[in-house]
Structure formats: structure tokens, C-alpha cells
Symmetry: C2
Subunit: 401 residues, 2 copies
């Protein structure tokens, strides 16, 4: 019997490590890969992964960013509305003698796992369908955390520490605003607090989508900070909203000096507002997609866990499970200890996990020690990359995507 594996949604630096884990756990005759997820599967864009990877290549795959198999953003219809597409998929499963299906992804991908599982049950098709979580956003329910989050958190915290050093060089007052990914969940933005050490508090202020944003409160927070420090650093989620649920980035009351609505990101919006309010240097920085692809500063803990959860997904299928998502359960923060388990896919698909409000401080402008204790173990350790000519030697994706 054979299995098939796919990747879906946005990239993380850990998603290829989970793929490497699936391939390495040699329990099926052939491990097939679908190119561009379900979208490619429907076109029979399928490759045989079993004969591509030796141990060295699996190690290189584990340490390569983005998605070896390519991705898609494809939402399956309900099979009650359109069963054709499901019949097509299961015909392909039959043709390739597929008895297990692994899908590495975030919320939308888990919806695919749920729907395929339900259809399989409906037509009584014997297949083990397992979701393997990944997302830098850490917003999947049921699991302690998601592969990909720890590395993104490490990139963000390291970058924040470096931005801090850059921000203090001139003898003047300054406000530096760093915009971090996260539309509805503030996990990544909050992780910037890991830049704080025994000497420096970085960032000074943190604004999360979990809390309604108020511009006057924001100004008063900055005012307070500038009384004690020359150079203030602020971390802000791209998805902060006002009390009416309107994104600050799209707030029509943020106008430039010509009265034109400012269409850029929230960092630029706040930069403009702070410049108008305070007589000091203001800079905004958008931490860009390197948050999800900067393999060179990945967390070893994250990459290792992503590998193991991929490997365990195969064991979970072999044990006869289906309609499951793999999860981490945490035994303790210090010493850090987790175990791998799985949950019914229904308990996680299409739900979103945000930061518990009790992990946000009373002033709603920073996080508590409980959050730090939770996130710190996830960024530990550095990976050993092979460099060729000064640049990391990532795996070749030897086909036209």
C-alpha cells in the first residue's frame, strides 16, 4: 500500500521538516507527493518521493525553507453540494493504491482533512487521513503550539534585538514601530518580547489584535515611556482593530496632509500618527515575509519537532487512525517537555486560537511572564546549515513549479 503527502497554505521554515519526517518513516511501499496540494492532486500532478531522497537529502530537505511540494489555496466544496470533485480525488487514490493521506497545513488545510475524511466514511473507503499542523501564526486549536511558530518567533525576537541596537545610536528621542504578521492572533507580535534580556527591555510596548486599539491610549502609553527612555520600540500586529472591529490599517480617518486616505500597512499609519503627535524621530519597519522563510535563523527545537510530528503522523495512520490532526501536548515549561498525540479533526478545523487574555497585561500594552514561559522553549537552539559560497545550501526544487 502507498501513501500520499501534500503541503498547503502559506510557508513556514518547518513545513519541509515535517515532509522529511513523513518520507523518512519508511512504512509504505511508495510515498507519493502531490504538487501544489489538492489542486495538483486533481490534475494528477503527483511525484514519487520514495526514490528521490537519501539520508543526506532528507537532512537537507529538513533544513530548507518554504514548500518543496508547492502549495495551493483551495477550499473543497461541501460533498453534499458537489461530490464530483470528491469522486475524482478518490478515483486517483484508487489508481495509486493510496491508503493514507497526509496534509501539512494550517486552518484551511485542516478543513480539507475534515471534508475528505467525512467523504471517505460516507463511501466506506478505507483510508487514513491525517492532518499535520504548521503555521507561523500558532492559531490552531487543540495543539500546544504549531510547527513553524517557534522559528518565526526566533526570527522576530532576534531581529527586534538587532533593531534595538540600531535604534539607540543617536542622542535624540525616537519611536520605532515594528509591524509583525498576525491578522487575528497576536502570537508572533507577542513573541517579540523574547528580545528582552537582563539589560534591555525590548520592545517597550506591544499591541495585539486580541485587544481593541485606541489611538489616545497609544499616544499616552508612548508619552509615559518617553519620560523614562529616549528610544522607544513598539511591536504591533498587522491586524490590530479599533473597538468597532475596523482594521487600523484601513481606518479612513487616517489621512495624509492632503486629506487622502493612507492605504499602506498599520506601521505606516501609526508612524504618520506618532509623527504628527510627538516632536521626535519616528520610523516604521515592516518585518516582511522573512518572518516565514528565514531558515538561516530557524529554531532547532521547532525544526526537530516538525520532523518528529511528521514521522509520528505516519505511525498514527499505520495504527489505523483517520480524521485526526497531530498535536503537541506540553508536560512542563521548565524543563521543557512535550508529547505528541492526535485529536479528532472536528475539534480543530475552522477554529482559531488567540492569546489567552490573562497573558496580556492589565494596561493592554504588553504581555505577562506566563506568555514568556510558554514561548521561550520554542525558540531554543540553532540549526547547522551547510553554506556554499557564503549562502545557505537549500534543497533544489528540481522542476518547474
Amino acid at each position: 500500500m502507498n501513501c500520499i503527502v501534500g503541503q498547503s497554505g502559506g510557508p513556514t521554515v518547518a513545513i519541509n521538516s515535517s515532509l522529511s519526517g513523513v518520507i523518512s518513516n519508511n512504512k509504505y511501499n511508495t510515498v507519493y507527493g502531490m504538487i501544489n496540494g489538492i489542486e495538483g492532486l486533481l490534475k494528477k500532478n503527483i511525484i514519487n518521493l520514495s526514490n528521490i531522497f537519501d539520508d543526506n537529502k532528507l537532512e537537507q530537505l529538513k533544513n530548507s525553507p518554504a514548500m518543496y511540494l508547492g502549495s495551493c489555496r483551495f477550499k473543497l466544496p461541501s460533498y453534499k453540494e458537489n461530490s464530483d470533485i470528491y469522486n475524482q480525488i478518490f478515483d486517483i487514490f484508487k489508481e495509486f493504491n493510496i491508503s493514507a493521506f497526509f496534509y501539512i497545513g494550517g486552518n484551511d488545510s485542516m478543513d480539507t482533512v475534515l471534508k475528505l475524511s467525512e467523504f471517505a466514511k460516507q463511501i466506506d473507503y478505507d483510508i487514513n487521513i491525517i492532518g499535520i499542523p504548521k503555521t507561523i501564526d500558532n492559531d490552531l486549536m487543540a495543539t500546544d503550539h504549531t510547527p513553524g511558530f517557534g522559528s518565526a518567533a526566533k526570527y522576530i525576537a532576534t531581529s527586534m534585538a538587532e533593531i534595538y541596537y540600531d535604534s539607540i545610536i543617536y542622542n535624540l528621542k525616537s519611536v520605532t514601530i515594528v509591524e509583525i504578521m498576525g491578522r487575528n492572533a497576536g502570537w508572533l507580535t507577542a513573541a517579540s518580547a523574547l528580545a528582552t534580556n537582563q539589560y534591555n527591555t525590548v520592545p517597550d510596548l506591544i499591541y495585539l489584535p486580541e485587544v481593541a486599539f485606541n489611538m489616545d491610549k497609544f499616544f499616552s502609553d508612548i508619552d509615559q515611556c518617553l519620560k523614562f527612555k529616549n528610544n522607544i520600540i513598539i511591536a504591533v500586529s498587522e491586524g490590530i482593530k479599533d473597538s468597532n472591529g475596523i482594521y487600523i490599517a484601513s481606518n479612513p480617518s487616517n489621512l495624509d496632509s492632503f486629506g487622502h486616505s493612507i492605504l499602506s500597512g498599520v506601521g505606516k499609519v501609526l508612524e504618520t500618527a506618532v509623527k504628527q503627535k510627538f516632536n521626535c524621530k519616528v520610523r516604521s519597519i515592516e518585518l516582511n515575509i522573512l518572518q516565514r522563510c528565514a531558515m538561516h535563523i530557524a529554531s532547532k527545537t521547532d525544526i526537530d519537532e516538525a520532523f518528529i510530528i511528521g514521522k509520528e503522523a505516519v505511525n498514527t495512520a499505520i495504527d489505523g487512525n483517520t480524521a485526526k490532526m497531530m498535536i503537541f501536548l506540553r508536560d512542563s515549561n521548565n524543563p521543557y517537555s512535550i508529547k505528541i498525540s492526535n485529536v479528532d479533526i472536528k475539534s480543530t478545523a475552522n477554529l482559531e486560537k488567540t492569546i489567552p487574555l490573562e497573558w496580556i497585561n492589565e494596561q493592554k500594552n504588553n504581555i505577562t511572564k506566563e506568555f514568556i514561559d510558554y514561548v521561550k522553549p520554542l525558540i531554543q537552539g540553532q540549526i547547522n546549515l551547510n553554506y556554499i559560497d557564503g549562502i545557505p545550501d537549500y534543497i533544489n526544487i528540481g522542476r518547474t513549479l
Copy 2:
């Protein structure tokens, strides 16, 4: 006799390494540091560096980003117009028994070195005034390259490689535009070509300030590329200008759909233009100040060279030289071999080195092998950082800046 050292201009990850080199070359009774460059010197904001650093701390300083002594942007007036400020400075030199002055900086800082040297000669004050180059921009004349450039180039090329992996995941046509620092010189943007390896050409197109930018030619370049590849990556200098010398970022003919002038960076301007012209996914990414502060991916070659040039600056002063800037001379590309020398400060201050036009291809949208041969040795090697709790352990700047 004592010496004094300062840092000035924008940060690089190599500037503290040069400071470490100066301090470690124990030839003066006391090494003083001026806080915030000349600006701090005028306020006698001076610290004794000789008793702060043991060998471990010097190593940590070498591997810490930004500027331990702080910086300033302060242009000395001509001493013929205002000699008061010069008398003030030289009174402080007398008070602290200063016989050598080291200034680590870029173009503006070399102007300070020039002016102070001229005034010293004028008043017959016996002091050795030496400039130590640093700038990520690599735009100083007389030296083969500048400390700080190699590390920024390594950060940019590594990030470009990672952005490439991120850009190819979906089965659709896309254009990714990466905006890189450089107002007048394209060294950093051109260095993105180091992301190319035996498998992938990254980026596909490169636009430099050395060449007048033409939007129609740009569109036709993209059109050509999209015929052969789905996912195009473009590197562009923030400072590209049209044939009239007007910055593309400020071109008033770049209007949004409401006819409003777009005021953001060149990446956003081009993103909007390409979106309107091509029916495909377009994204722009601004590589932000991490270009100059991402110590975690610094070039070992760069950091080591910055240390040695700092150390050699002290020897150059001790040998009785003044009004000099330290330089690298290259003996060969492969094997890479340089020697350290110095030039008359007049031959470099207030001049700007741009990319030789013969290192730009005929189509003016990429660079030649000569450029790669020149820049590749500068990004070689990785530094060994100490990590605490998953974050690099940079030196504490134990004072309120």
C-alpha cells in the same frame, strides 16, 4: 600619551569590530571613547575604554551590531568660517593628552577627519588623525571595499535566496520586487545576485541607481522573463532615478487609482505599476534596516577584516601618519587576498564610488561576472555567536545613550 576613538554616521554590523581592533592594539596609555562622535566630544562626553574590556568582552564587542559608542550626524563647519568649535575640540585633546584620533565612519566622517587634520596642521598641533572606513553602501573611494558591506551583502543575498523559495510555492505567475538600500550607489542591490546558484537564477532583474530607469523598458524586461518563468524576482535600489535624475519613488506621475500621488518607497511604486500592467500576483518587499544590523548572519570575512583594519589604524598612527584613511588593496579574487594600507584623506573624503559601468550588463538590468568575482569573497564565512535563551548575546551598552 592617549588616543580617542569615535563612531559616526549610520550603523553597520562591522563598526564595533573595528572599535574592538583599536582597543585591542594596546599602544596608548589610555584609549578614550567619545560618546556620539564629535557631538559628544564637544560636550566632553568621553569614557575610558581601556579598563572596560577584557579579551572576552572584546570578542563580544567584535560580534555585536550597531555602534557601542553611539553616533552623530554632525558636519564640521570650515575652520576659516568658524574656528571656535575647532579650538574647543583641540582644548579637549590637550586636556586629555590626546595624540591620536580615530574616527570610524563613512563619507561624512571622512570629511571630519580631513577638516580636523587641516586644522591641526594649521595650529601645528602634533596629533595623528586617522579615518577607519565603514559603510554598508561600499561607496568610499580609494579602498577596494568598506567594512560592513560584506555582511550587508550576505544578509541581502541570503534573504533573496529565502524569498525565492517563498515566491515559487503557488502555481501562478508572480512578480516579487525587493527594495534594497542605496541612494546613489548600487553595490548592495547588485550583491543580491549572489543568491544565484547552480540551480536557480535569483534575482532575474536588477535595477541600479547607476543607470537611468525607464518604466517601459522595465515592463518589457518583465514581459520577456515571464515568457520563460512563472515567478520573477526583481532587485531594485531605493535610489533609482529616471533620465532627468528624478527619484522613481517620488515621481509625481505615479498615481493611484484615485489620481493621488503615491508617496511610499520605490518598491511600492513599482508594485502598483506592475499590478496595473500585468495580470499577475505582485508583491513588494522592503529589506529594512536589518540590512545594516543583522549581526546574526554577518560575514566572518567582513568582521575579521574590520577588526584588523581597526588594529592597523593604531599602527598607522604610531608610525607617525596623519590625515589618512585606512584602505584595503586587493591582490587577487581567487584565492582572495588583500593587504591593508592607507591613503591621503583628501583623495577620498566627500567623493562617492559607484559601480563601474562595465560591471553592468548590456541590457542594463543585471550585473556581469566581474562584479560577482569581486563581491563573492566578501561574504564568506559565518561568525560564531553566543546565544542566551535562543537569542544572540550582544554586548550590553551599559549607559543611557
